[in-house]
């Protein structure tokens, strides 16, 4: 069943990228989609991470929020860069991730890095080592605002 789902998805991906709909190319796409699905059967582990559809609900609420956070912090980093005094106060800090799964912690770490001004440098268990461009950025992360948001996103999966 999952094999058919994967083959269908791969074939749709082929159709989207190809743009040439002659019988030969569509047939070749179908054949490679099925072959890839069969080949991937032994590679993909049978866990929830390979079924991202279940994350979809959280995705519609979490990513728009993250996008807005990114825009806000990209703008503040821009202001710092074009400020002649370059008002940075680099800070290293440690935050704990409250997510239960590896995928959840990875999402949190990725979100921190994706947001300009904060960078996940190291991960040990549920401890994230973070480099922030300003002290305020570090304190904002320590408050756990983003952590709770990611945990809620994970909870919907």
């Amino acid at each position: 069943m999952r094999l058919i789902g994967l083959a269908t998805f791969l074939f749709a991906f082929w159709l989207a990228l190809s743009g040439h709909y002659t019988a030969f190319l569509v047939g070749a796409g179908l054949a490679s989609a099925i072959l890839c699905a069969i080949a991937a059967r032994r590679v993909l582990p049978a866990d929830s991470e390979s079924q991202p559809l279940r994350l979809l609900v959280g995705t519609v609420t979490y990513y728009p929020w993250l996008l807005w956070e990114i825009v806000k912090s990209a703008w503040s980093v821009t202001k710092i860069i074009i400020d002649p005094r370059l008002p940075i106060s680099p800070t290293m800090t440690r935050v704990s991730a409250s997510q239960r799964t590896a995928a959840g912690i990875a999402t949190y770490g990725n979100s921190i890095t994706l947001t300009p001004g904060t960078l996940t440098v190291g991960v040990a268990g549920n401890q994230l080592l973070v480099h922030a461009l300003t002290r305020d950025g570090a304190l904002d992360l320590e408050s756990g605002r983003m952590d709770r948001r990611v945990a809620r996103f994970e909870g919907t999966a």
Binding site: A16, L17, G19, I70, V71, A74, W75, V77, T78, I81, I82, L86, I88, S89, P90, T91, M92, T93, R94, V95, S96, S98, G109, N110, S111, T113, L114, T115, P116, G117, T118, L119, T120, V121, G122, Q127, L129, H131, L133, R135, A138, L139, D140, E142, S143, G144
Partner: protein, 120 residues
């Protein structure tokens, strides 16, 4: 209508170029490796994002727009991994960050209330 779309996409592309320029300036102005990574993150996010959004408006409802969306989505998930790998490798090789404050040793108490200015 076509004129409006051209104006909107032109503004988005110009905006993207502005943030790419800012990121490049940040890369030059920042004092050390870690802070330079923050400078370029403006390019990855607002720079590339606005630029691709502008290009999407030019392409309209075509397969090109879909492909641009893929480019955006893929960079969204891979660029932070690259930035993280770079910073971690630097730290691993003992490239010391220039810090105004080091809070690495702060005590972590799970779920404990946080003081009003962020002090645990």
């Amino acid at each position: 209508m076509a004129l409006l779309i051209d104006i909107a996409s032109g503004a988005l592309i110009a905006g993207g170029c502005f943030f790419i320029l800012v990121g490049a300036i940040g890369l030059v102005r920042m004092p050390d490796l870690y802070t330079r990574a923050h400078g370029t993150s403006v390019i990855d996010t607002l720079g590339a994002g606005l630029l691709i959004l502008g290009l999407m408006l030019q392409a309209g409802w075509t397969l090109v727009t879909l492909k641009l969306l893929f480019v955006l989505a893929i960079s969204f998930f891979t660029l932070p991994v690259v930035a993280h790998a770079l910073a971690q490798a630097a730290l691993h090789e003992n490239v010391a960050p220039r810090l105004a404050e080091d809070r690495r040793q702060r005590a972590l108490t799970d779920g404990a209330p946080v003081g009003k200015d962020g002090e645990p």
